[in-house]
Amino acid sequence: MSTLFDEQFLRRLEYLHLVSRKVYAGQQRAERRSKKVGSGLEFADHRDYAPGDDFRYLDWKVYARMERMLIRLHEEEEDLIVYLLLDCSRSMGVGSSVTTKYQQAARLAAALGYIGLANLDRVCLIPFGDTLLDRVPPLRGKKQIFKIFRALDGIEPQGKTALNDCVRLFTHQHKRRGMVVLLSDFYDPDGYEESINLLRYSRFEPFVVHLFDDDELKPGIRGDLSMVDCETGEVREVTITPKLLKRYQAVHEAFCTSLETFCKSRNVSYFRTPIQVPYDEAVLRIFRAGGFLK
């Protein structure tokens, strides 16, 4: 058992699962309804009969009352795929605090994945940096969580962030639609807008989890420094003053707000959490925020 996912972690996952079941009681296995109309049991709608339609679906009661031939439509009941897109770029590994953004993101991914598996959804983990890394194929059943643990344990944050390229590649490779939980700090010089839009246009259901480190906003540095970008290696000589730090905090806040605004304006679920918040509390907040459990 790794230090990231120990016994205590598993016990907390079970607790989260129970909480999720209690809050959203009545939603059992395979009850996530897709919008596909098919051969399920739940009535969805009527439509006019067309030659070639199966007579078995004619609504005879309506025909008797209204003398119209209408076909009963039922919702297709199928299990949902939850794609966990986890940012593993170098910026996720930077941090002076006890935990890093990657570690927090990995715990969140594991927790959400476990809850998905427990609800008999299919869960697929896809780490990415400057390209898509080795993915964990769609899994089903609680016991499969350990495959996710192993995969997360074996990842070392490195490389640049290429969110747009990775999402584009993802949409090309995965035709089956589902929920895409995007866990990242969104520190991509090319921006995040294109990638989120791409998921929307490809009829995936994006769920944005934005992680940030409070220590990044209040770095204990002063004076003359050589500032090195951890992903690009770009060096910049700066003189840090309290005034400059305040300005930086404002810019960072504007960055976060713009991401949130972008998501909400497009009806994309957005959740922001500092890594200093314990992951289980963060998961509960995600539940309360809605969008993940339906």
Partner: protein, 658 residues
């Protein structure tokens, strides 16, 4: 521009060294710490605004360094109290400056400075006063420090370095020697001769005869007196002011001790005098003897205020030991301990076994027996083999085949032993040369009407000493020889024929000879006083140096002169060991040194002198203060430095980024 608070060279040195430090810190400041950030584009947005004044950003480091250097030079200049040419006529510190002032600080380190006063020694108070005087040194004044006991020792040269002066003052210690103001004044006169504005500051308890006013004036003597506020209490002292051990006149195996005690306190005191002895020959000073049990019961003496009392203890049965007489004062708190002890080396005394070889002659035997405890054994020449079992061999007109080891006297022996003899010569009146009148063998020996008819023609060697010679022709008549293995005396004439045997001097000669052979009297004379330099006869030929160990265990080397004497000045009371060589155990002489000085133990200040007055720095009249823009220069300079500090703060107030 010149400075009054420091020399230009000091100012330049300070500026250079501190500038170096600032420059070093400046370069350290240039080193940037590398910090990794996760996303630099956010920082880029922030920095875009602050980069607008990039030229100033480039310059500000250099400007900061420059400002710091200017700041430093301004502060240093202000501290140096600048004077601009033409502003004033204030003189400045420099040894070459004719206006510079010289002060010779003379610290009394004589034994009386060990006296206790208000819980501490007088010398500790003197050290404090000396430090105060150094602190009061004005900028253009230079000090020289010397210690004055029996001799004067130069401790520092002329210097304006207060710290080094203070360091030396703190390291000084007193001696057990006596005051010697004549020597002090001589030294002071020589040290200050030809120097402008020179004066002598003597820090002392004034326990010495008054210095002549003319001499004091000529050297501008000023005195810092160690003031005894409760003089009666601070003079409570009982001292051994004289100490002699001599042979007992009635018994040559015993000694007599004489000592003189003095009570300087205003009350009657009871004193117990203990005699401690050390037979092992390891005790060196007072503390060593305190641990030894006293011999017999102590002698109790009562001394009235100011009384001096001489005490004689006869028939002291001691031999071959180191002895110390220690006082235990009962009724008062004795403020000076060093004069409560006196030391002496007591040589071994024994019955001397003498072999008289040759025809039996009552004159010689009687002369030998003039000293007590002499056993004379008559040995015919035919039965003579060697000197085993005898301390002294006297050959009376006969010569053995081989000279014996050890001590011997040769009376009229016509042979090659122990020195070459080449026939005889006509005799004549004999004299003792004045240079040899103090020789141990010739003490009290005077030749009056002593005219042997013939003398052996002996040839004295380089290491031999002619103790008596003919008045005409200077032919040797008595020759002495001493080396590490043997001592002998050769009498080159017949004492019977010359009728010397009928003179008192004949017996005295034999008593002297025995004393010289066994060094009894000469060793007794080695209780030395610390009031004078010492001149010690060693009788060790062919020695150029000897090693001397002081009572405190320090070792030094002394030169031996052509006459086999060493001259040195001990400064501690106790036993001094003189060694010719580490490996030759028989070449060891021990001498005892004792303070025993009535004047030093009196503890009463004498004389009136000009008190010490610190020099005052050159007065600066308000209208003479150098001004810049109508304000005093130092104020303007400090204000400028303050302004520069504010500028530096505003432009480059950053913490160190090492």
């Amino acid at each position: 521009m010149t400075f009054t608070a420091m020399t230009v060279s000091t100012w330049v040195t300070l500026l250079a060294s501190l500038s170096g430090v600032i420059t070093l810190l400046y370069f350290l400041r240039l080193r940037r710490r590398q910090v990794e950030v996760p996303f630099s584009p956010l920082w880029r947005q922030v920095l875009l605004e602050s980069q607008s004044n990039s030229l100033f950003r480039m310059l500000k480091r250099f400007i900061s360094w420059l400002i710091q250097l200017i700041f430093l030079s301004l502060v240093l200049t202000a501290l140096a109290d600048p004077v601009f040419s033409g502003d004033t006529e204030i003189s400045h510190s420099s040894e070459k400056d004719p206006e510079s002032k010289h002060t010779l600080l003379l610290m009394d380190t004589s034994a009386s400075m060990q006296a206790m006063m208000r819980g501490t020694t007088r010398f500790s108070i003197a050290q404090t006063k000396a430090l105060e005087a150094i602190n009061q040194r004005i900028p253009n004044e230079v000090f020289m420090l010397a210690t004055a006991g029996r001799d004067v020792t130069t401790e520092t040269g002329w210097t304006d370095n207060n710290e080094s002066l203070k360091q030396v003052v703190r390291s000084l210690q007193t001696s057990d020697s006596t005051s010697n103001p004549v020597s002090w004044m001589q030294y002071a006169r020589n040290a200050t001769r030809g120097l402008p504005n020179a004066r002598v500051v003597l820090i002392t308890d004034q326990e010495f005869p008054p210095i002549d006013d003319d001499i004091a004036r000529s050297i501008h003597l000023e005195v810092i007196q160690i003031d005894a506020r409760e003089p009666a209490k601070h003079q409570n002292n009982v001292a051994i002011v004289d100490f002699i051990i001599r042979s007992h006149l009635g018994n040559s195996l015993k000694y007599a001790i004489y000592y003189k005690l003095k009570n300087t306190s205003p009350q009657t005191v009871t004193v117990d005098a203990y005699l401690h002895v050390d037979a092992s020959g390891t005790a060196r000073n007072h503390s060593d003897f305190i641990s030894l049990p006293p011999v017999g019961t102590p002698a109790r003496h009562t001394l009235a205020p100011g009384e001096e009392k001489t005490i004689e203890r006869v028939s002291v049965d001691l031999s071959g030991v180191r002895a110390a007489l220690v006082l235990d004062v009962q009724d008062i708190e004795d403020v000076l301990q060093v004069d409560n002890v006196a030391f002496s080396v007591i040589p071994e005394r024994k019955t001397v076994q003498v072999a008289l070889v040759g025809p039996r002659q009552m004159f010689v035997e009687a002369a030998l027996k003039a000293r007590n405890h002499v056993n004379v054994v008559h040995v015919p020449l035919q039965q003579w083999t060697n000197a085993d079992g005898f301390d002294l061999v006297v050959f009376n007109g006969v010569t053995p085949n081989q000279a014996p080891q050890g001590n011997s006297i040769w009376l009229n022996t016509d042979s090659e032993l122990p020195i070459p003899v080449n026939g005889t010569i006509p005799g004549g009146p004999l004299i003792v040369p004045s240079s040899q009148s103090q020789h141990p063998a010739m003490k009290y020996v005077r030749f009056i009407d002593l005219e042997p008819s013939r003398l052996l023609r002996v040839k004295a060697g380089r290491d031999d000493t002619v103790l008596a010679r003919t008045k005409r022709g200077s032919r040797p008549a008595i020759v002495a020889h001493s080396d590490e293995s043997a001592r002998w005396l050769v009498v080159a004439f017949d004492p019977v024929e010359s009728e010397w045997v009928a003179h008192y001097s004949f017996s005295v000669f034999f008593v002297n000879a025995i004393n010289w052979f066994f060094e009894e009297e000469s060793r007794l004379s080695r209780t030395l006083t610390l009031a004078r330099p010492w001149n010690i006869q060693l009788h060790w030929p062919h020695r150029e140096t000897v090693e001397i160990t002081t009572p405190s265990g320090e070792e030094f080397t002394a030169l031996v002169d052509d006459g086999g004497r060493i001259a040195f000045s001990g400064m501690e009371a106790g036993f001094y060991e003189i060694r010719a060589s580490e490996v030759e155990s028989n070449s060891l002489k021990t001498v005892a040194a004792t303070m025993a000085n009535a004047a030093e133990s009196t503890l009463r200040a004498e004389g009136q002198y000009a008190p010490y007055v610190p020099r005052t720095p050159p007065e600066i009249r308000l209208d003479q203060v150098p001004k810049i823009f109508g304000a005093p220069a130092w104020q303007v300079l400090l204000l400028l430095a303050l302004i520069l500090t504010v500028i530096e703060w505003l432009t480059y107030n950053r913490r160190w980024t090492i």
